[in-house]
Amino acid sequence: MDKNISFTLKIWRQRGPKVPGAFKEYPMKDIPGDTSFLEMMDILNEELINKGEEPVVFDHDCREGICGMCSLYINGYPHGPATAATTCQLYMRRFKDGDVITVEPWRSAAFPIIRDLMVDRGAFDKIIQAGGFISVNTGAPQDANGILISKKVADRAMDAASCIGCGACVAACKNGSAMLFVSSKIAQLNILPQGKVEAGRRVKAMIAKMDELGFGNCTNTRACEAECPKSETIDNIAFLNRDFIVAKLKD
């Protein structure tokens, strides 16, 4: 049984994209250690609503670490201090009695703040729309298992595919670069025979879209892979660089 803790939340409040924001402090009392971070935020919001104040806006959906919807930059870490875990998988037992917990939104020019801790990650969808798919003729599609793929290749593609597109890589990067996300999405498709056919076109289209949306240039600091809740590695970025350079040299 975890013991209860009391702490102070320092939360970024901002009413809209253009309005200047500021930190506001909220004392929290007797929160059980086995409360998840998002449940704790729910408790805070309930208190705020009961007091007639505006609740804190934050993103969340599945609350089991697979949808990529939750965000929050907690005490200097995207998704909080836990490794290979999303914010919804973070529990209050990681914090100590009397702590000040600073909660900020993802900060990046390509992710404008909608309100409080919620940011617009629509840029990722636009990158996927630019090339994050394979083209298949409908009518008489081949059976999915018609093309044999070795276990090694399948595993590698699956590892890349485990990226949930939460944006922690962009939030962690001092350059606001989306390379870990884009490279994971490209590797996942370009490694497999079904995706290889369009590899060059895909990598060029997705990089062009990524640059257009105002993401930064990767400088290999590796902050992204340290913070990725799905443990994606910069291996994927090397893969992307390779495919991109090859595609450009072919032109």
């Binding site: 930059y73 005490n75 870490y77 001092k174 606001g176 340290a226």
Partner: protein, 230 residues
């Protein structure tokens, strides 16, 4: 042009110029080492290079490499600051796997540039420039190929020794990240190679900079304690 318009292309330019500059440093270090073993040999190299056409072509190419590397560095840094946005985080933590150098490449680069300016005024101005301008008053003892004399004059002063060592330290930090990072950008990397490249980067850079430092310290000791004539 993809080397200008795309983020990966811009990084490729940084990588290729960076690797070329590491190669230049390697040659430079090899030539410096000669000074430890043979003063006559070193001056022969200075004589051989001097302001001959091939040395001038080489110097121009080198200057172009430096300029491209520096211009792209400034440009990329500005783009990245813009991408980061105007609001900064109130609390930041550097994860243990993130090297300090990797996040401070631009600052380290600035120190390196200051060192280059110092180095050019100390040596290049009195050697190749003196020969180009045909102004032998600038040259040490009227001989622009007498590199040894210049080294002794410069490294007699402990302040210069210290400045050069700080400069070498900055280059060491810059290269330990830059070396493997360049190969990562060129796509020659994966889970196994990243460990190899990091190891190679550290060893190569350490040997390289240690040899540079050795020559400086060698001449400082030679002039100060062993009473070598200038």
């Amino acid at each position: 042009m993809w080397l200008v318009n795309s983020s990966v292309g811009r990084k490729v330019v940084m990588s290729v110029t960076g690797i070329a500059l590491i190669l230049f440093l390697t040659f430079h270090m090899a030539m410096n080492l000669v000074a430890v073993f043979s003063e006559r040999g070193y001056n022969a190299i200075c004589e051989f290079l001097g302001a001959n056409w091939y040395a001038l072509v080489g110097s121009m190419g080198l200057a172009a490499l430096f300029l491209i590397h520096i211009i792209y560095a400034v440009w990329l840094t500005l783009l990245n600051r813009k991408a980061r946005g105007s609001e900064r985080y109130a609390v930041t933590v550097r994860p243990t796997t993130v090297e300090w150098a990797s996040q401070n490449m631009f600052v380290l680069g600035l120190i390196v540039v200051l060192g280059i300016i110092l180095h050019l005024t100390d040596f290049w101005y009195h050697m190749q420039f003196a020969e180009i301008a045909n102004d032998m008053v600038l040259a040490p003892g009227g001989d622009p190929a007498d590199g040894i004399a210049l080294m002794k004059i410069t490294f007699k002063n402990p302040v210069f020794v210290l400045l050069y060592l700080v400069w070498f330290g900055a280059i060491w930090f810059h290269l330990t990240h830059g070396f493997w990072s360049a190969l990562q950008t060129l796509g020659w990397n994966n889970q196994i190679w990243i460990k190899r490249w990091k190891c190679i980067s550290n060893i190569y850079t350490t040997i390289l900079m240690a040899c540079f430092a050795l020559v400086v310290i060698f001449f400082f000791i030679k002039v100060t304690f062993l009473g070598a004539s200038i």
